[in-house]
Symmetry: C2
Subunit: 327 residues, 2 copies
């Protein structure tokens, strides 16, 4: 990871964050704008807007022309986090109380709604000549996120899901916004059709890698590092990549034990250890790491049609930092 890369990312994050604070600048009503600011100030990698801006720059676009769309995407992402945390009953995010925990579910519903509206406001405040096109991509993307989150919740009540169903779910829930980021970034930057399609795929592959890694981190990372409940996916009976893979490769005994623990209402530290044992026995941890690596390698290949500039190099380096992330 080069010094320039870190500098560049932190520079882009700062520009995005400054603009977001300009947008969410009202004070009244307190129980709307305070939770909104709280949600957006939780830090985070700002990966989606950074991706949008890097891709935009890589194909020759200017920062100013793409900033509103980048900011809109980050606001959309925060809207989904605030609502998902209610649905998944998560008390912590990045080490802090979630909005519905700090206030209540009603406040979280409303501030999530308002974040989505501000996302659209940010987007259409910029009179891009291609605004209708960009809006269409955004709305289609957000609808897919809703569909993906619905599938995620539906899968919690099912005994098992196929790998194909798993990919449909994460492609919608997670990869879609990454894909929209790269797609819209390349459109706004004036990329060629080949570049636009390549970047769409780059986003999808990065998004998949990111989600599968999230699945992995839920069981292997420390709560202190991840800043959220360890094993919460297991408690919620989430059909993560690890569960899907383990169920497909488990013997009858392992399968029965896994179902038993996943169906429990409250899980203990021992339950988590038992599940991880089954993951190890079924070679699931290794298979998960391999899949993440494959996705990132696929993403790397899509960078070929880009001109040789620093933004392209940063998109490459970003893949390495994602591979190494532990939170």
């Amino acid at each position: 990871m080069s010094h320039t890369f870190e500098q560049k990312i932190s520079e882009l994050k700062k520009v995005v964050e400054n603009r977001i604070y300009e947008i969410v600048n009202k004070n009244e009503p307190v129980t709307l704008y305070e939770p909104m600011r709280y949600a957006i100030s939780s830090g985070g990698k700002r990966l989606r807007p950074v991706l949008l801006l890097l891709v935009n720059e890589a194909v020759g676009g200017t920062l100013e022309n793409a900033l509103d769309a980048a900011v809109a995407l980050e606001l959309v992402h925060n809207f989904t986090l605030v609502h998902d945390d209610i649905m998944d009953n998560d008390d912590l995010r990045r080490g802090r109380e979630t909005v519905h925990k700090k206030w209540d579910a009603n406040v979280a519903i409303l501030s999530g709604d308002a974040l989505l509206v501000l996302a659209y406001s940010a987007l259409h405040s910029n009179p891009y000549p291609i605004l209708p096109e960009v809006l269409k991509d955004f709305s289609r993307g957000i609808l897919k996120v809703c569909e993906g989150q619905t599938l995620d919740k539906e899968f919690e009540t099912r005994e098992s899901v196929t790998l194909e169903e798993y990919y449909e779910m994460i492609d919608k829930k997670t990869a879609e916004l990454f894909s929209v980021a790269c797609y819209v970034g390349s459109i706004l930057g004036g990329g060629s059709e080949e570049q636009i399609n390549a970047m769409k795929l780059y986003g999808k592959k990065v998004g998949r890698a990111f989600q599968i890694q999230d699945d992995l981190l839920d069981v292997i990372s420390e709560e202190a590092v991840l800043g959220k409940d360890i094993g919460s996916d297991i408690e919620e009976n989430k059909k993560t990549f690890l569960v899907v893979h383990a169920l497909e490769n488990a013997d009858e005994d392992q399968k029965q034990k896994l179902h038993f623990i996943l169906n429990k209402k409250r899980i203990t530290a021992k339950d988590v250890r038992d599940v991880i044992d089954i993951f190890r026995q079924t070679n699931t941890i290794t298979a998960t790491r391999n899949i993440i690596e494959n996705c990132l390698n696929d993403a790397k290949k899509t960078l070929l049609p880009l001109p040789d500039n620093s933004a392209k190099h940063h998109l490459n380096e970003l893949l390495d930092t994602i591979a190494k992330r532990n939170s």
Copy 2:
């Protein structure tokens, strides 16, 4: 109420509903699209899109040019209903179970979110030359609705609110979407600046009348007629027009009694009767009816700058039907 008026309204409703069903036409995931269709099929007066289309026609616009915006507004309205019912813990709407009751809160959050996204999709699917302007009005309007609903919830935890605060709350929560309907309708129809401003005021006054009447119907209508829990505003300690007026005109004994009942967690039929008694003693029911009549009279006056056509007459007749509504 003329035969033509009823025909016209039912015609417009049908056009709007058909287009909405075209938009919410997917089946999978089942727990996203089924609740969405359930929410939009609950009937209702479709007052906001009908207003938009009537105003648009009154200033000389065509139906086809304004239909997408009308549909978008109805979808926004349904998004707010689905989310508000969670927050207000309402089990019934128009005589049917609410979405969060029939499914659960998670399903209601997600299907509400998706309705909002589809509202934006409907709106930007039409490449109006003035799309950025219309989008701006919409987003500003929806944000105000979120603010109004936040105030409504904040007020539940307060002992009393001023009449001014009450109006700020209902202007945002309810009157704003009526105002946006009439404003956008007159813009899309190519109205003059005078007409646009008049219609914006018409919408605001109709919206106020509508909300204050809602407050009244919560205590005086039969559940069978209203299709929702009777006295639910009292149970939720809502600061309705009636509560604000009664508290301002009550003696110490009445005030104390009113506060006591409003602060109860569960209210009985006797509590509702007691509250209504205080409303009567403080002349609140009559004052409420007068205010509604005043709002509708104000609305009537705003119709002056409109050319003399059938749509203008329908906008006039609409005021009479609102005055008489009991659900």
